[in-house]
C-alpha cells in the first residue's frame, strides 16, 4: 500500500527536489501534496489523508515549529509523523522539536540517502504492517541509491 506524503517548504525548487528524492528512494508513494507554509499544510491536512509530513522550519506565514505544535495539539493529526528537513541545525532547535514530538530531523544540505534512511525508519515505526505489503504497480519504482 502506498503512502500519501505532504511536502511543506516555501521554496518550490526544494519541494521538487524532495519529491524527486522520495520518488527515487523506493518508498511506495500514493500522492504527493505540497504546501508553501504551515497554514497551507494545515488546510491540506484538514481535508486530505496524509501518512507522513516532510517540512521545513523557516517559512513565512507559519513556520514548521508552529505547524508541529498545532499538529501535536490535535488528537487526530498528532498520529501523523512529521520529519523536519531544515537548515535550522542548532541543538536547541532540535531539542525543541523533539519535545513537540517530531519523528525525524534531516539537516540541509542533505544527501538523498539521509532522506531515504529517516523516511524508512519513521514509516517502519508508524506503519510497519503497510510496508510489508506489496507496493502498488504505479508506485513501485526501483531505488536509484
Amino acid at each position: 500500500m502506498a503512502f500519501n506524503i505532504l511536502v511543506t517548504d516555501d521554496s518550490e525548487t526544494m519541494r521538487a527536489v524532495i519529491k524527486k528524492t522520495v520518488s527515487m528512494s523506493g518508498v511506495p508513494v500514493g500522492e504527493f501534496h505540497e504546501a508553501a507554509n504551515g497554514k497551507e499544510a494545515l488546510a491540506i491536512l484538514a481535508g486530505t489523508w496524509i501518512d507522513v509530513i516532510l517540512s521545513d522550519i523557516n517559512m513565512p506565514e507559519m513556520g514548521g515549529m508552529e505547524l508541529l505544535k498545532k499538529i501535536s495539539e490535535d488528537e487526530d493529526l498528532r498520529k501523523i509523523p512529521l520529519i523536519f528537513i531544515t537548515t535550522e541545525a542548532s541543538e536547541a532547535r532540535q531539542e525543541e522539536a523533539r519535545k513537540l514530538g517530531v519523528a525525524g530531523y534531516v539537516k540541509k544540505p542533505f544527501q538523498p540517502e539521509a532522506i531515504k534512511a529517516i523516511l524508512y525508519e519513521v514509516l517502519e515505526k508508524a506503519y510497519a504492517h503497510r510496508l510489508e505489503e506489496k507496493p502498488c504497480d504505479d508506485a513501485g519504482e526501483e531505488s536509484d541509491f
Binding site: R93, P109, F110
Partner: protein
C-alpha cells in the same frame, strides 16, 4: 571580517555547494581588476539573522552560476530550468549556506534566521562591491560568487 570567520564561511559554503549542487568553490584572495568587471545579469539573494547574534549576508550569483546550480539541484536539462526556479534556487542556497553557518556560529540557537529573498539584477557590476568590508569571493566554473556579510 576576521580570518577565522572567513575560514568557517568557506568550509560551510563549500559543503553546501558540493553536497547540493556538485559545484566546487575556490576562495579568491584578490578581486579581478576593475577593467575586467563589466555589467552583467546577476541574482542578488539576501538573508539575515537576529537574536543572540546578528548578521546579514548578500549573495551575488552570476546568472550562469545560478542556472548551473539550479540544473544540478533539480536534475533537469539546461533549457528546462525556468527563470523563477533559478531565482528561487539562489534564495534557497542563501538559506542553506547561512542556516548552516549559523548552526556553527550560534550552536545554542539563540538567533533566528529570517526568510531569504532573491531578485534578478538585469545590469549589475560587482565593481560596486569592491569596497565592502565583509566581502568574500569564490571562484567557480561559472564565474565568481560574490558574498558580502556582517556578523556580530
Amino acid at each position: 571580517m576576521d580570518e577565522d570567520l572567513r575560514r568557517v564561511i568557506f568550509a560551510t559554503f563549500s559543503e553546501v555547494f558540493e553536497t547540493m549542487f556538485f559545484t566546487f568553490l575556490e576562495p579568491l584572495e584578490e578581486a579581478p581588476g576593475r577593467e575586467e568587471l563589466g555589467c552583467d545579469r546577476f541574482i542578488e539573494a539576501t538573508i539575515g539573522y537576529s537574536g543572540g547574534c546578528n548578521g546579514n549576508f548578500l549573495f551575488y550569483f552570476p546568472w550562469e552560476l545560478g542556472k548551473n546550480i539550479t540544473v544540478n539541484f533539480l536534475g533537469v536539462d539546461e533549457d528546462e530550468a525556468s527563470d523563477s526556479q533559478i531565482i528561487d534556487t539562489a534564495a534557497e542556497t542563501a538559506n542553506m549556506a547561512i542556516g548552516s553557518l549559523l548552526g556553527k556560529l550560534d550552536p545554542g540557537g539563540t538567533a533566528l534566521l529570517a526568510i531569504p529573498k532573491a531578485r534578478l539584477l538585469a545590469e549589475f557590476s560587482p565593481e560596486t562591491l569592491l569596497a565592502a568590508s565583509g566581502l568574500c569571493m569564490f571562484n567557480t566554473e561559472f564565474g565568481i560568487l560574490w558574498v558580502v556579510g556582517t556578523h556580530a
